[in-house]
């Protein structure tokens, strides 16, 4: 298990390095120049040159990437020249909101999705199974920004069950959670559908396995066979999919944060990209990718914990 964990961590670090380096190159290649955004159209070439040098944009691309990593490794994410603050401050004040949002979405998709999936599989081909199937596909098909807008209109504006905008009062946990319900549901709803479909399919497969027949032949109670023996195996693919799906949730988070006016990495990256604010883009992308890779890693480790067959190092 330790060897497996170390291998996975090493792989995760490699992925972060490759992704960020590639992203840096792509971003520099984008049309648009931060100096023109920041200094305005009337800036003199001299002013631009000074600014470019300050941001390190004159160096060759490889050099810039190396410099970036050298700074990151010494704990410095760079400086946000637009607002004159360290990038780490901007990122760290936004990160907790996004993490809470994504974990909220995972909470919805795991709890509702596994429940619906196991339920459908257990009552295969019943009316309820079909209804659940239709609902799941509808959840998958609905774009998250549409869900975000409509849930905002229905639950926040018309019914007034939940607050509509912001992330809640700092230090007030209840208010934070209330503000989290709608945006996390908006992101998680599609994943509820995915997870339900995956769990149903793998549940049906597992229920046909020989060891389930063994459990039944030994007289184990039906509920224990379904929810303990079968579900334990059947949720494995769902855990894996959710781990990778966090990438998708992060991109949905951009919409949700804009619709619900929440602070977060999504909003930060969005404004930074439109401003060509390279240091902030890189810093927040590094953290976002790091977060994504960490979650995928955690999913792998959960899988290994649930399934002893995966623990063997590959």
């Amino acid at each position: 298990m330790i060897q497996y964990t170390l291998q996975r961590v090493a792989l995760a670090l490699g992925i972060v390095f490759a992704a960020i380096s590639a992203l840096y190159g792509v971003m520099i290649a984008l049309p648009g120049d931060p100096t023109s955004v920041l200094l305005g159209p009337r800036a003199t070439p001299e002013m631009r040159a000074v600014f470019r040098e300050q941001m390190g944009l004159d160096d060759p691309l490889a050099m810039q990437i190396l410099n970036f990593w050298a700074r990151v490794l010494s704990g410095d994410l760079g400086t946000d020249f637009f607002r004159n603050r360290p990038v780490s401050v901007a990122v760290m004040s936004a990160l907790p909101h996004t993490v809470a949002l994504v974990f909220g979405a995972i909470f919805w998709s795991a709890s509702l999705g596994i429940l619906l999936g196991a339920f459908s599989a257990d009552r295969r081909n019943s009316v309820l199974d079909r209804v659940t199937g239709v609902i799941s596909v509808a959840f998958i098909a609905a774009p998250s920004f549409v869900v975000a807008l409509y849930s905002l209109l229905l639950f926040a504006v018309t019914l007034r069950w939940f607050p509509s905008i912001g992330a809640g009062e700092p230090g007030d946990l209840l208010s934070r959670i209330q503000h989290l319900v709608l945006p996390s549901l908006a992101i998680g709803l599609a994943w509820v559908g995915y997870v339900a479909r995956i769990v149903r399919a793998s549940m049906l497969e597992v229920m046909g396995e020989s060891y389930i027949r063994t459990a039944r032949a030994f007289g184990l109670p039906r509920r224990r066979v379904v929810y303990n023996y079968a579900l334990r195996v059947a949720i494995l693919p769902a855990v894996q999919v959710l781990g990778v799906g966090i990438g998708g949730m992060l991109s949905s988070a951009v919409f949700a944060e804009i619709v619900f006016s929440r602070p977060g990495i999504g909003t930060l990256i969005y404004t930074a990209v439109s401003d060509r604010n390279y240091p902030v883009v890189m810093g927040s992308m590094l953290v976002a990718i790091g977060f994504f890779v960490t979650c995928a890693l955690i999913a792998d480790l959960i899988n290994a914990a649930l399934d002893p067959r995966h623990r063997k190092a590959k």
């Binding site: 020989s210 459990a215 039944r216 030994f218 224990r224 023996y229 649930l306």
Partner: protein, 324 residues
């Protein structure tokens, strides 16, 4: 002596696109207390359906058309679900064919062995102790450590020993063995058969042993039932059936056993023809089309059970001639 298991006129059919497939037709099998009865037959003869019916684990498109399955006098097919669940695992248990897939891959051996004792009102530690004792009994080294092992860490032979330990753990009255040696290699096969014999002597259960392997049946069983295309065609003591088979199918099956070959042949012996269509079984004798001895009567009427000696019968019009 009362029979531990008595299957009477059991008929099972499957709903298929082309109509009802009559997988078992009026099958009767008796397993006397403390005896080992073998059921032998080629693929498609209804062995798996028989096991499914005995355990009430038939697939969804199967239905029991008629007959009864008495386990110590109680009809499994008609007991309430709660009683059925109580009988499974405690009064009858089963060792399945493939030990690689019959154990749950994500639960430890110990967990699975404790779980099947869920009805016992004893502490978990005691359940573990009983499980370890049984693992030692089936010949696994270091049983305490095996409780913490995962199925994938054990070899096929070890897993089948675990499966036998699980089946014997609750001291059932009837142990059903569904080709438990088919997935194992020949040396392990002998060991597993010896183990089943020992377990049978110790807990005094009856064993219904299903196999397509004549040699294994001869080695292990007291009595045997030969099945063909969903019917029991011959039943009797093992020596009698092997020495003086009274059904043409049994005779041919024994001739085809590669273990009997004494010289090199270019082609292994086989029974010409193929199984009849069970969605529309022919009238008269089911084996008629492949039988050398078939006469007019075989086409007209289904053969009755003819006793050749007491306790040895054959469903053949010419049983006396065949066994002579």
């Amino acid at each position: 002596m009362t029979d531990t298991l008595s299957v009477r006129d059991l008929s099972v059919s499957y709903d298929t696109r082309t109509g009802a497939l009559q997988a078992l037709r009026n099958v009767s099998i008796n397993v006397p207390a403390g005896e080992i009865v073998g059921v032998v037959g080629e693929s498609g003869c209804g062995k798996s359906t028989l096991i499914g019916a005995l355990l009430s684990l038939l697939s969804e498109n199967a239905q029991v058309v008629g007959g009864e399955i008495l386990l110590e006098g109680e009809d499994i097919l008609r007991v309430p679900p709660r009683r059925l669940q109580a009988m499974r695992g405690r009064e009858m248990s089963v060792v399945f064919q493939d030990p690689m897939t019959s154990l749950n891959p994500v639960l430890s051996i110990g967990r699975q062995m404790r779980d099947i004792q869920y009805r016992e009102r004893i502490p978990e530690a005691e359940k573990s102790r009983r499980a370890a004792t049984m693992l030692a009994r089936v010949g696994l080294p270091d049983p305490e450590a095996k409780l913490h092992a995962w199925p994938h860490e054990l070899s096929g032979g070890m897993r089948q020993r675990v499966a036998i330990a699980m089946a014997a753990l609750m001291q059932p009255r009837l142990l059903i063995a569904d080709e438990p040696t088919t997935a194992l290699d020949a040396t392990l096969e002998v060991q597993i058969i010896e183990l089943l014999k020992e377990i049978q002597r110790e807990i005094g259960c009856a064993i219904l042993f299903i196999s397509h392997h004549l040699g294994v049946i001869a080695e292990l069983c007291d009595r045997m039932v030969v099945m063909y295309a969903g019917e029991a065609v011959e039943e009797g003591p093992v020596e009698a059936v092997f020495q003086r088979p009274a059904h043409p199918y049994t005779a041919k099956l024994i001739e085809c056993d590669p273990g009997r070959l004494r010289e090199r042949v270019t082609a292994l012996p086989a029974i010409p023809g193929s199984l009849p269509d069970l969605t529309d079984p022919p009238t008269g004798c089911i084996f008629r089309d492949r039988c050398d001895m078939a006469t007019d009567i075989c086409a007209r009427t289904a053969p009755p059970r003819v006793a050749v000696t007491p306790g040895h019968w054959s469903a053949c019009h010419h049983a006396q001639t065949v066994s002579a």
